[in-house]
Symmetry: C2
Amino acid sequence: MRDWATTDTGPATVQVMTAGGAGRPGAPAQGYDAVVVGGGTIGLTCAWRMARRGLHVAVVDPEPGRGASWVAAGMLAPVTEVHYTEERLVALTMASARRWPSFAVELEADAGSAIAYRTCGTLVVDGDDDDRAWSDELYRFQRSLGLDVERLNGRRVRQLEPNIAPGVRSGLLANGDHQVQTRRLVTALLAAGTARGVQWHRFPATAIDVAGGTVRGVEVNGESLWAPVVVLAAGCWSGSIPGVPAGVVPPVRPVKGQILRLAGEARRILLQRSVRGLVQGSSVYLVPRADGTVVIGATVEERGFDTTVTAGAVYELLRDARRVVPGVAELELVEARAGLRPGSPDNAPVVGATTVSGLVLATGHYRNGILLSPLTADAVAAVVAGEEVPPEMAPFTPARFGPARPASSATATL
Amino acid sequence: MRDWATTDTGPATVQVMTAGGAGRPGAPAQGYDAVVVGGGTIGLTCAWRMARRGLHVAVVDPEPGRGASWVAAGMLAPVTEVHYTEERLVALTMASARRWPSFAVELEADAGSAIAYRTCGTLVVDGDDDDRAWSDELYRFQRSLGLDVERLNGRRVRQLEPNIAPGVRSGLLANGDHQVQTRRLVTALLAAGTARGVQWHRFPATAIDVAGGTVRGVEVNGESLWAPVVVLAAGCWSGSIPGVPAGVVPPVRPVKGQILRLAGEARRILLQRSVRGLVQGSSVYLVPRADGTVVIGATVEERGFDTTVTAGAVYELLRDARRVVPGVAELELVEARAGLRPGSPDNAPVVGATTVSGLVLATGHYRNGILLSPLTADAVAAVVAGEEVPPEMAPFTPARFGPARPASSATATL
């Protein structure tokens, strides 16, 4: 963090008044070491981790924690999500999964609250023979990658989870796929950030200030937040904040996911671990909580910025969940909600420095945002500090999408 | 209304203090001509109609209009509900349906608001050949009763409703089955009651005061509401109010119904009229509103006083609705809710005087409460005034359920 200390915004914790420059003439301004645009799990984690390193950090978000993170089921599934991805992404997700246990401990310590990180494993079950053929493929691919996954017959499936549908005749057990309660996670990230001095600006970012190829700060609510570093972590909205030069705007789009929350009773737990079902080619997951709640997800829909809960999606989620675990029919439907994942052209994250000096991207995490938050935040903090990013993150630089290639290495651009 | 004026509670509009008797010693008391226990559609309609006749009326309900009425779809379906019932009940429901047009006009005039009473007819469609065989039976029965019902082939069904599923090959059209927006209905009943001087006591009734075989009033929130007439119209809770002698307690039970509300767009109306589908033996209805809303109902469940919305019921309602009108899948699911219908041993209403002088029952309306409210209220007002009840209501006296037979005619017991 040599660079920011030499910028012209002065000592980062000092309130400064600007008479021009990036802000409106005469508008008030505040100085920070870094401003994070977007208070989802990624943005909150980046802010907290930078603050732990001693930076003075602000987060700009009208409702921190209430975007896709609030909707997400919280599966940490590098193994069972493998079929959606490719080998470099598996290396990334596995690396982030390895950081989760210590990340959870540190977060709970800073926040003073629990996030219910559960190392319960994930069971994948096959609906019929066609589904089994598909899951055989998955199994072979997972094994070829050296992943910890075990083939189970129907009897063994039901030993592990007696409430799985009687028709299920085979499955896979991924012991390394865990879960976290996302709403507790964002609540803890807010508390941990506050404990480390993070400042909250609960308004939309109206613009990112860029001048002469260098970021100057963020405009919010008529105020200029001056900072030598801006982390753009606004999920699927990361491409919509004014002020970012055309070639640097991250190529993200919203990918709608609808999800259900069912309430059960803590004394009648339906499932011990997360269950994914492949039912006639359609994928569904059920994530159980200790209080009897079961989260059922999720659709994957290309519908733009639409968060309507549709009758058809609720129907299909319940249909598929019932086929895997018939007992869910008895649970109370307490919530149906849609969130917008940030998809990228290859549906892999977009994390790292850009050709705009000081502007760092942390977006495009698609279905893996919760899982990838520890590694993403460490990568962002490394970029900001002029350190090497974790090698697994290196391939996911914004530079891979075309002309807006950083002039040299990621650290050199800051 | 000769009887009540001669009772010992004095002029009905005078506030009286009781030093004993029905209330707590020293508790405040108010006098009314009639107190209605229960502010659902039945109770509100009874109160408003009595008030229109010049009576000073109070309604006791912690949340008027928010019980089963708030959940109900508002189908006014004497013809298409016929298969659940028997011939005497058809005569009753048809008689009440005939009162609906003038009832709606009078209510809207008193309330100053619209209730969206629509004489749109109801279409019954058959899912498959088995369903068609069943609906042939229904059609023959309806015709034998002289009901206005028309057999349609698939082409004609789709002429009337282009969004019906292509697989539907036959149907029935009941021109006389209408609908009303129940939430507007109860809102209007509250306004109309207020306009006619009805007083609202927004607390639970703690007891009905009965002494010497005569009703004295109602206890509510530590207060005694004195009245020579008490109308017990508390839906499925009508059997749970303390103070009613054992043989007079109405034999009602809660029958759970789960229902969905889907939002659409006024410019893309999916259906012109209410549609009932019989799908593989399972019955579903879709009630369209002018604003694009579609109400889908309803389960019929014997679960006691349970209003949990279950995943299984939501699934089944959506499944059956989609089979009849596939386009509902695109609508927004905005509400899932359960209500409790008041069922009786024969699932017909329990309306009339009891062996307790002054205590009138108006409950047990099961699936027909909205439809039967005009006739029920007229019957109750007639009983209270010492007039003949409408002949169609006469068979549905509380006396039919056993030993608690009124000493003589309904009017004589008051």
